[in-house]
Amino acid sequence: MKVLRRVDRGPEPLVEAGQGRRRAALAVTVVAVVVGLVAGGVAGERVVGRRQAARGATTGAEDVAGAGAAGAWAGPRGTAGPIEQLRGAGVLLFTDPEGRAHARAADGRDHRVLGQLGELANRRGPSAFDVEEAASWLAAPPDGRAVELGTDADQVYLRTEDGAAAVGRLVDGSVRRLTPAGWRSPMAPRHSADGSVLGVCGYRLGGEALPAVTEATSWVLDGSGTRLATLPGCLYDVAADGGSALVADPAQGRLAGPVPGGQFFGRPPMGRSDQLTRGLRLWRRDGGFRPVLGFDDVVRVFRTVQPGAGPSGLVIVAAVLATDGRQALVHIADTMAEGDPRTGPEREVLALVDLERGRAEPIPEHLPAWFTFLPTGGLVWTGGAGTATYLPRDRPPQLLRSGIANDGVYAVVPSPDGAWLLLAGATWRFVRADDPSVQISYPAPGRLATWAPEPGR
């Protein structure tokens, strides 16, 4: 059996035996820990970096589907379709319920927050219920976008909660009202492509027994807010180059007479008004006006879808100019139509107006809703049967999609080059204009405001 001795304690030696070895061991341990820390840190950093690269994430908290096995961008989470075809298609500007404005490439990359504006918070799409019923016959926006952003990603065109057309700036959070005190506006300001010319429609309600539009006036302003013109009647659109604007033609209003008021089935009563729009003219910045749509044409076009319609209730409620300023899409409605709009008589029609020749032709569609021109000259519109139709220039119409009512589509917006159309709703669906079978979709990251060109293009 091995016996271990208990060492008798003697006086402490001045230098303990083996102390050098112990100090060396301590130093070695400390050095080893430090080296290990460094080595582990380096290894960890590399591991983290490699994982990130493999995932292909760019936007931190953004929802991204990431890159595929081959390293190709797969788009935001939930993307369906060949997302890579949207590369370079422009930048989508949108807002969120907190009032922030965002920018993101059409293919879902390069997300950034542009700024915040209190007026943008909790914005809903424009609705007939936002404006008084009587004013909804004066003007309505051509789509359901709540706000529009300028291509500079700074200016915000909106209608304030109290009904004033206004321009906000993201850079300093300012909001400038464009309508005088006491006036309301049925829609956000219209503007030229660069925002240097603004057009605002304003109205005042009155009426003895029933509410009616008693005054309608428009203002054309430059980018600094200086008034260029004050016009009678409502303004509907400003040309892309800012050189002209589509406004009501008071002469046609006098020709047609006042719109009768009354109580109509399924909607609030409306008073008699001589301010609603019966015809259109083109205001030119270099001076003068040119009539482009007379009331006779309004009646003629409407009667192709409603042969027995009386003229007294026919009004123009929306109009947009083509990019080249040669055509306009005009939305005509019958204020006196009754019955269920889905199953009853036709009460609205779109008209394509050739501004050079002053000739209008109908675009028959049941319950037309949103419409716009493409920069390439085609036009697109949605209808009550849940379809979105694209009519290219000199080619037959094409179905972009059916069943859009289920998608909650509130706007159809072309890409800056006109190669794509975006059906904006709960899902953003991009449809290639030259081949509508090519479609790309992903969940909407917010409410669409503008499809702007890529910076530098």
Binding site: V28, A32, G40, G41, G44, P82, R87, R342
Partner: protein
């Protein structure tokens, strides 16, 4: 005396051996693990390298899905669609089921029937053929007669002549069973009231008109006649009255009689000028004029046969420029389908745009509830009561009729 387990046998208070190598390795491992954890926690996530995008040579085209969700909810008229396809006469349900070949080697452009026995009469390349339920065919009518239009109900038929090289107003009233023919002085187009035994046809003056055929002219009449079998037709709308409503030089290009025979729809106009559909009562009184969009011409007009109410469908197709003389199925342009109600004179757009591109056939369902338009891509069906319930049917072929099963 026993020992407790683990009881040390001896105590040794001497300090342990330093073992620097062992401690160094352990320290290295601990340091490495700690460093790794710290790195995971604090190292900033780097931006990924720009992905390499490879555009596909051809678009990966997800095909546009046709909405078929409401096909089942559409009242499908209780009967199958009658279509001509690949030289066969076929019947098939609107949902694409129960496809059946009615007759082989028949290129029908119009049909009457079938009756309760399943017999129908078809216009095939100018010849009128009776098609039995078993598919056998028998030609009826004079051998020299070449027809351009065929209408009727049950045994009674009215065939109007192909005008090429023949008298334009020598139509025949035919008995579908016996084939016996009686001449009647009117020309194409013709119409028949389903429940009233009344027919309508076109009368003179006959003028050759350009713009219907690619080469040459087509004789077109300038008045409308109304008659009953066994009686001489009377003028319902003379050339002067037609010109007054539809413009000077207007000709008749289509006719439709309401099922009760009380209303006549006339598509009138001239190529290159505005077209309209006139609605006239059988006593000659003008009821309505339905103007068409500029450059559009009616391809079909037809009354629904709905108990208690009827509606007139006007299928207007874009006929501008070269489209004027294009074959229907080859025409690549839009159009629209309007339903007009005689009660109240109101109208509604049932279909427009894409469903009308290359539209080559049209029919009301036998119950008057739905209307169908065929094109090479398929058949588009709209429920009249609510145009939101429209759908594409998985049926191909040129639509001729949509009768009830065992129609009388």
């Amino acid at each position: 005396m026993g020992r407790l387990l683990g009881d040390p046998e001896v105590w040794d208070d001497s300090p342990s051996r330093p073992r620097p190598a062992l401690r160094g390795l352990a320290g290295l491992a601990i340091g490495a693990v700690a460093g790794l954890l710290v790195a995971f926690a604090v190292v900033a996530r780097p931006a990924p390298p720009p992905p390499e995008v490879r555009l596909p040579a051809t678009a990966e085209a997800p095909r546009l899905q046709v909405e078929r969700r409401t096909l089942e909810s559409i009242g499908i008229g209780g009967g199958p669609l009658l279509l001509t396809r690949s030289g066969r006469l076929e019947e098939v349900n609107a949902d694409g089921t129960d496809r059946k070949v009615v007759a082989q080697n028949v290129r029908a452009s119009a049909v009457v029937g079938p009756d309760r026995a399943g017999v129908l009469v078809a216009l095939d390349s100018g010849l009128i053929s009776r098609i039995e339920a078993n598919g056998t065919t028998r030609r009826i009518g004079p051998a020299s007669f070449v027809a351009d239009g065929l209408v009727g109900t049950g045994r009674r038929l009215l065939a109007c002549p192909d005008p090429e090289g023949r008298a334009v107003d020598r139509s025949l009233l035919l008995d579908a069973a016996s084939g016996r023919a009686t001449p009647v002085r009117l020309g194409c187009p013709v119409a028949w009231a389903a429940r009233a035994g009344v027919f309508a046809g076109t009368g003179g003056p006959w003028t050759p008109v350009e713009g219907f055929l690619r080469a040459g002219t087509t004789p077109k009449g300038g008045s409308v006649l109304l008659g009953r079998p066994g009686k001489r037709p009377r003028v319902l709308l003379d050339a002067k009255a037609l010109a007054a409503v539809a413009g000077k030089g207007a000709v008749v290009d289509g006719l439709a009689l309401s099922p009760d025979g009380k209303l006549v729809a006339v598509s009138a106009g001239r190529p290159g000028r505005p077209w309209q559909v006139l609605v006239v009562r059988s006593d000659g009184r003008h009821v309505a004029a339905i103007p068409l969009a500029a450059g559009h011409r009616p391809a079909w007009i037809g009354w629904s046969d709905r108990q208690g109410s009827t509606a007139l469908a006007v299928a207007a197709l874009d006929r501008r420029g070269d489209l004027a003389t294009a074959e229907l199925a080859a025409r690549r342009a839009g159009g629209y389908l309007l339903a007009w109600q005689p009660t109240g004179g109101t109208a509604r757009v049932l279909a427009s745009g894409v469903p009308m591109v290359a539209a080559d056939g049209f029919a009301w369902s036998s119950d008057g509830d739905s209307v169908a338009v065929s094109a090479p891509g398929g058949v588009y069906i709209v429920k009249q009561a609510d145009v939101v319930y429209s759908t594409a049917s998985p049926v191909t072929g040129t639509l001729l009729a949509w009768p009830s099963r065992g129609a009388p």
